[in-house]
């Protein structure tokens, strides 16, 4: 009976996992038939098998679409085993967002270089998606850790997936080494929290200790836990993997790391600090510093903004530039959590969602340019305007949204985040951080404009003709750009949905 209940509540996750298995099986049968009797991979195999690739992509997309439908059919609220699996409007909303991000990633994966062994690649993306859904849908430390690991391990493999590219292997190894160390910290921190409070349920942790003072041991536990999440969202000083991973990994993997993984990590981090650790928030105001998780996050945020923006200034590779800008954006996004309360959390979630869509779009363009020119350095984008006006227009929208200029979603998102942070505490205690973030935005405008200058002004290096962009890619990139524009003009639907689901 209990297993039936579990299956009913975890149906979307089971659905995605099942699709992954199906794709693996499909890939296996297809590939065997085409490879024939030769043991050595012939050229045809290396290029990937188009029909198998197509079928697998379609199956993956269908599976994700059906998973979205089954999320919608879940009961509005339910709890399994005291919080191991929680279903609320909030978790459903973010499961859908993760699934949509995965769907775009699957479309993106069709253009990547990882066309070889495409079925396995898609299956791992789906498994990572299951991890994200578990992360989002739990209020229990163990489940959170399992979700983190499932996501993490899948992403390590996705990063190193391109066997022919040395950079990919390097990126995978770096990501794995940093990631496993960070996981170890998180696990240790969680065990300390469990040891001090005797429970792994987030609401129970908060209840148990609302009166107790913050002991040094517990503080150590909190800091260690935060280290793991800072790694996940690529916040300085735990960002060292980001540049190589964003640049070296296959484009679709990098896009998924930058979007889906980040959104889910912010969801969990928010739940962790605002629900579980709420009593020890402390204060990060410049005139009223009190120890707790807030000063720690404030320091991480400030450092991320500075390091991310200044290092991004000198980058010559667009993916690397986006990696450092991601560090800075992690810093901005943390401002919402520092603002605290449902409003601050809403701001963080809105911003990370918008950011995820923006980056997916940007990576979509990067993968198309890479397919055409064979690289993704700044000069490979020269004259994109003449080669593909649509992609140039979309790139303009994505870059300006990242810079936080109206009327795009990034502008509203930043306003929302910064106003939430200003509201926190009395006497504008976080003014220092808001001012720093604005200064960071000023710096960031420079490098985003440089990218746009190259896209819109410079002439292509070689006599490159019109880029061939097929309809599906055109639609998906265009859709993301429209979404970014729409959420800037009409943020209300998403904001209202997030804040209603948090209530």
């Amino acid at each position: 009976m209990k297993y039936l209940e579990l299956l009913r509540l975890a149906f979307p996750e089971a659905h995605v996992a099942g699709t992954a298995m199906l794709i693996l099986a499909l890939g296996l049968t297809r590939q065997n038939r085409n490879a024939g009797a030769t043991i050595f991979p012939d050229r045809r195999r290396r290029e990937g098998n188009p029909s198998a690739t197509n079928i697998c992509s379609i199956v993956a997309a269908l599976g994700l679409t059906f998973a979205i439908i089954s999320v919608l059919r879940l009961p509005p609220t339910a709890t399994f085993s005291g919080g191991m699996l929680v279903i609320t409007p909030f978790t459903s909303l973010f499961k859908i967002i993760c699934l949509v991000l995965a769907l775009f990633t699957v479309i993106l994966a069709r253009t990547g270089k990882a066309a070889r062994n495409q079925p396995e690649y898609l299956a791992i993306i789906l498994l990572a998606t299951v991890g994200l859904m578990l992360l989002v849908g739990s209020e229990e430390l163990l489940m959170i850790f399992i979700g983190l690991e499932l996501t993490g391990l899948s992403l390590y493999v996705l990063t190193a997936f391109d066997k022919t590219d040395q950079r990919s292997a390097e990126a995978g190894l770096k990501y794995f080494l940093f990631g496993s160390t960070a996981s170890a910290f998180t696990l240790f921190g969680l065990s300390l929290i469990y040891g001090m409070t005797g429970t792994t349920m987030l609401p129970a942790i908060a209840e148990k200790v609302s009166a107790a003072p913050l002991s040094p041991l517990l503080f150590a536990g909190i800091v260690m836990t935060l280290v793991g999440f800072a790694f996940k969202v690529a916040a300085a000083p735990f960002h060292l993997w980001a540049a190589d991973t964003y640049q070296g990994a296959p484009v679709a993997s990098a896009a998924f790391i930058a979007s889906g993984s980040k959104v889910a990590s912010f969801v969990v981090l928010g739940k962790l600090v605002l629900v579980g650790l709420a009593p020890w928030h402390g204060n990060a105001g410049w005139h009223a510093l009190i120890i707790g998780w807030m000063p720690v996050l404030a320091a991480i945020s400030a450092l991320s903004i500075l390091v991310g923006n200044f290092v991004a200034l000198v980058q010559k590779n667009v993916r690397r530039l986006l990696a450092y800008s991601a560090v800075a954006h992690a810093g901005y996004t943390l401002l919402g959590l520092l603002g605290g309360g449902p409003e601050g959390f809403t701001a963080t979630l809105f911003y990370s969602t918008v950011y995820a869509f923006t980056l997916l779009g940007a990576f979509g363009i990067i993968s198309l340019v890479r397919q055409e020119t064979g690289g993704d350095d700044l000069e490979d984008f020269a004259g994109l305007r003449t080669r593909s006006p649509l992609l140039a227009a979309c790139m303009t929208i994505f870059m300006l949204s990242l810079a936080g200029l109206p009327p795009l979603a990034g502008f509203f998102g930043k306003f929302f985040l910064f106003s939430a942070a200003m509201r926190a505490g009395e006497n504008q205690g976080l003014l220092w951080l808001v001012a720093l973030a604005l200064f960071g935005s000023l710096v960031s405008l420079y490098y985003y404009l440089i990218v746009l200058k190259i896209v819109l002004l410079e002439h292509p290096a070689t006599s490159a003709g019109i880029m061939r962009v097929n309809l599906l890619q055109r639609i998906s990139v265009g859709l993301l750009a429209l979404l970014v524009l729409f959420l800037g003009l009409m943020p209300e639907p998403l904001v209202a949905r997030i804040s209603a689901s948090l209530r």
Partner: protein
Amino acid sequence: MIAWTIYLTFAGAFLALLFPRRLARWIALATTASGLAITVAMFFYDDFDLRTFDTVVRAPWVPALRMEYHLALDGISLTLALVTALTAVSAVLFSWDVEHRPNEFFFWLLLVVAGSFGVFLSADLFLFFLFYELVIVPKYFLILIWGSTNKEYGAMKLTLYSFLGGALVFIGILVAYVAAGSLDLQQLAQFPFSPQLQRWAFPVLFLGFAILAGIWPLHTWAPTGHVAAPTAGSMLLAGIVMKLGAYGALRVAMNIFPEGFALWRNWIAVLAVFGIVYAAAVALRQRDLKFVIGYSSVSHMGFVLLGLATGSALGASGSVLQMFSHGVIGALLFAVAGRMIYPRTHTRDLDQLSPLRLYRAMPFAAFTFVVASAASMGIPGFSGFAAEITILIGAWKAFPVAVWITGAGVLLVAAFTRRALIKSFFGETTSPAETPAAEATPTLAPITLPEKLGAGLLMFATFAVGLYPKLLLDRITPAAEAMRFLQP
């Protein structure tokens, strides 16, 4: 009805981008002309009360954050919308022969215009800020793609300065929003902010706006930006964009933090006067005609800030009148230098222009430049005189010393304008050796009809307001008297 200036201009921008390149300029002209028609109609439409900042359109936008789509209008907004429309029409006329990527050119140009209309009409602080920041990026691309002389440097400098100003404004807006819990300008103008807050929030907010208005010593973006921009870009920068900053300072900073303003206004006056004299002195030494005009913009905007610093209804009215006047005159000067002279002679260097004695080759351009220079010098009968005299009378009570110094500054303005005028059009042939070159020049291309129309429109505006300033002042002064910051 006035709200349609915003919608039409945005719609025109996208149409200009999507339609065939031959149609782009016609779309832009139709758009800006209808904007002008709407503002002029509103100007002579008496039923709307222009004394207070009354709502035109109001709809909820993001209720969770109390953001509203809220437009309002009073005499000050209307005057500035009018100068926006005037400058926009003539800017389109003066870029009639843009052949390089015309669709995008008019797209960005119309975005600047639409954003400026939006700023002047917004009554919600978030909406205001959205339009305010919206203007930044189009300027960057206008200069970067269609500019000249060191354009990449000029474009980036201008953009970063604007964004820096925007960041300061952002802090000021957030502080007001968080303290008062509202974004509505009318409500904020009633809210009693604590004096401690006003003491530091006012200078932050004011400085943010003043950067865009070209306050000394943060004015350096203006000359380089003006010089690098294409002609229409310079016209928009001088005619509209600098006004956005001054308008924001008046409408937002001074109105919601009146006590902070009272504390700091002496310093504003000092910076304003310094700016007037300094920029005029620098302009006297420039060789590039566009630099002369760029610095004259800074000097003229100093008058605006001085008028604001007086904190009197008279001074503020004079400021708004000066914004209108400088918008028209600045645009006219840039049009002559950038559109009439440069494409025909391929130089803006005063020493090279001097032997050409252009008045013979281009009598119409010479006439236009004489009118614009006279207006810029503040000769009675033109709008510049009416505005500057109003400001100086307004300032006399509060800052008599400043008025004396400014008087000296006015002499400098007259001196550099006269120098530019003589050198560019009426130069003396110094040596007989250069005479053949001078004789060879009358083969310059004639002034085209769009150029004549654009110049005529602006000259008409400066004449009309100069001869009958009451036309504007009747609408500005009552609105200025309703402001909260007025000093006793």
